[in-house]
């Protein structure tokens, strides 16, 4: 692996985007958008709900992992198991992990993307493929993370490689510091709303943080941004390294877009002007000012997931709920993104605050995000969630409505039982 070298990609002449830089590095030669490349992957990740198919494909190929150190299995999607089928699937995955020696993270360790970042497996400049569409999250630290299906992941595990079409990139510039109470989630929803659900399909989104945004948005916030690029169809969502990323990681010298790199389009978001956003059923790109839905009654509030289940998110919710009680008739579920987040929230008293306010706490993992367990929504119920999808039936009943929002907006909704207006959530 040439990951830690700081040389430029060989023979690079024309200015390159960050996506082109990483894929050129992987290909060992300069590559251009539209080119099809077969490249080595640095890490392949799979999860409890997909691993049975991955194992079946590997058995069909007659292959074991090419390099088990470059493979991770995380139990997060239906963890703990909701029924016997799932328990059996997890048993099979657990036995496969033990036999092959791949990295294995048990029920309760957390959401796959959070775990790979916390464990230091994901590093800047890597190519990471995952059997979860939100694998774009690794772009927070400028790793080219991309989601794929079970067969693609099995092929990557078996061969150590994958095929990719080198993408064009969309440039998203986020400028300035957001006002208090406005978060990276609001910025990310604004981005998806303006790009549209297929605004970046087959493309990489490259996010430039400028004029204070590079300090305002650390690793956690960048994970929220990179995570939601998927909802514009992105192949990867890369945040140009700056701020906290430079403090936490060695960043190779080549891992920056060239100044005159060519982008398919550019979008600018002035964070200083941004107000709380809401993504309204049943499409993620259906984004509006949260205040436009002020007063809408809410049955259930869910704070968690790979989008917004980190300590910063739980703190934002606790800040709203400190010394208060959630509204009568509202349920509130908090699912920390990982066991590390859970420990930290416990040490800081954040958990105490949330529980005293009336919230219940779930096992670290995906929670009810995709409507399988741990608190799915009933017919006709209205949910405010910090997750990343609000498709029809996503969280349970087909007639349930899911509104996507920041942790602060979600906590305010729990407090009053309504989507907050401008006075409470400016």
């Amino acid at each position: 692996m040439s990951l830690t070298t700081s040389r430029k990609p060989p023979g690079a002449g024309r200015p390159q985007t960050l996506a082109e830089k990483i894929l050129s590095q992987k290909a060992g030669r300069p590559v251009k958008p539209g080119e099809l490349v077969v490249v080595e992957v640095d890490h392949a990740m799979t999860i409890d709900s997909i691993v049975p198919t991955v194992i079946a494909r590997l058995e069909y190929l007659g292959k074991d992992p090419f390099d088990p150190r470059r493979v991770s299995l995380v139990f997060d999607h239906v963890a703990p198991p909701a029924n016997v089928n799932v328990a059996n699937a997890q048993k099979q995955g657990r036995e496969w992990a033990r036999r092959t020696g791949v990295n294995f993270f048990e029920v309760g360790r957390g959401v796959c993307h959070q775990v790979l970042v916390e464990e230091g497996i994901a590093k800047p400049g890597m190519l990471i493929v995952g059997s979860d569409s939100h694998s774009t999250t690794y772009g927070a630290l400028a790793a080219f993370g991309t989601g794929m299906g079970a067969t693609d992941i099995a092929l990557a595990i078996a061969t150590g490689k994958t095929w990719l079409k080198v993408p064009e990139s969309v440039k998203v510039v986020m400028k300035g510091r957001p006002r208090p109470g406005v978060s990276a989630k609001d910025a990310a929803l604004e981005m998806v709303g303006r790009l549209g659900a297929d605004g970046a399909t087959y493309m990489a989104v490259e996010i430039y943080l400028e004029d204070g945004a590079e300090e305002a948005f650390g690793l956690s916030e960048r994970m929220t941004l990179a995570n939601l690029t998927m909802e514009a169809g992105a192949k990867a969502g890369l945040v140009v390294p700056s701020g906290e990323i430079l403090e936490r990681y060695p960043v190779p010298e080549w891992l920056y877009p060239d100044p005159n790199a060519r982008y398919a389009k550019t979008l600018e978001i002035d964070l200083t002007e941004l107000t709380p956003r809401l993504s309204v059923p049943f499409y993620v790109d259906n984004v509006h000012p949260a205040a436009a839905y002020a007063g809408t009654e809410v049955d259930f509030v869910f704070i968690g997931t790979c989008t917004n289940g980190r300590i910063e998110d739980l703190r934002a919710a606790a800040e709203v709920l400190k010394g208060k009680r959630i509204a009568d008739g509202v349920r509130m579920l908090v699912v920390p993104a990982s066991s590390e987040v859970l420990k930290q929230a416990m040490a800081e008293g954040v958990l105490q605050t949330l529980i005293e306010a009336g919230a219940t706490i779930g096992t670290p993992g995906c929670g009810p995000c995709m409507g399988r367990h741990l608190g799915v929504a009933a017919d006709g119920e209205r949910v405010v969630s910090t997750a990343n999808r609000n498709f029809r039936g996503r969280m349970g009943a087909a007639s349930a409505e899911v509104y996507l929002a920041s942790p602060r907006t979600a906590a305010l909704a729990a407090l009053t039982g309504r989507i907050p207006g401008e006075e409470e959530n400016p």
Binding site: S49, P52, G62, N85, V86, S133, L155, K161, G371
Partner: protein, 164 residues
């Protein structure tokens, strides 16, 4: 033999194609496909016949990477889809499973739900009554995989990816 056209709109996501709660590991490998389009078109899984043609608008298959969504369609006998455009993971999954993903704005606009049509997969031609539509085949790299049956079959047979 003609097949029925099942036409869907734009932005059909993989939660529409197979809701998460009906994933194979939730309800069993033997019956998950019977929940295809369970929320959107509950009659689909009961009435669809092998060889029927699925037609989508733009951004077909957005959302979750769940391969069991197209796998449910494969189990129901779908061998080809036509869309104005595809979300990328869904497109890869189709090729990996050996379902041929055609792209054509014109053909999608021309077809109506319930149409009877005949698809010549090899020639990339679609017949409806006296009309003939030509479909552009997928790119050479993917066509090579599809000719082997699927990307999985290709790699099993050759030990490498096409063009590697």
């Amino acid at each position: 033999m003609t097949a029925r056209v099942w036409k869907f709109g734009d932005d059909i996501n993989t939660d529409d194609i197979l809701p998460g709660k009906y994933a194979p590991f939730m309800v069993g490998e033997d019956r998950f496909h019977t929940f295809a389009f369970a929320h959107l078109r509950p009659e689909f899984a009961r009435e669809v016949k092998p060889g029927d043609l699925l037609v989508f608008g733009k951004n077909a298959g957005l959302g979750s990477s769940r391969e069991y969504a197209p796998e449910a369609l494969k189990k129901l006998g779908i061998r080809a889809t036509i869309a104005k455009s595809y979300a990328r993971i869904f497109f890869r999954n189709l090729v990996n499973l050996g379902i041929v993903p055609f792209v054509s704005e014109e053909v999608v606009d021309a077809l109506a739900d319930g149409d009877e049509a005949r698809l010549d997969l090899e020639a990339g031609r679609l017949y409806r009554g006296n009309e003939v539509f030509t479909l552009t085949p997928p790119p050479a790299f993917l066509l090579e995989a599809l000719k082997a049956g699927s990307m999985l079959e290709y790699v099993k047979r050759h030990g490498r990816f096409p063009a590697e």
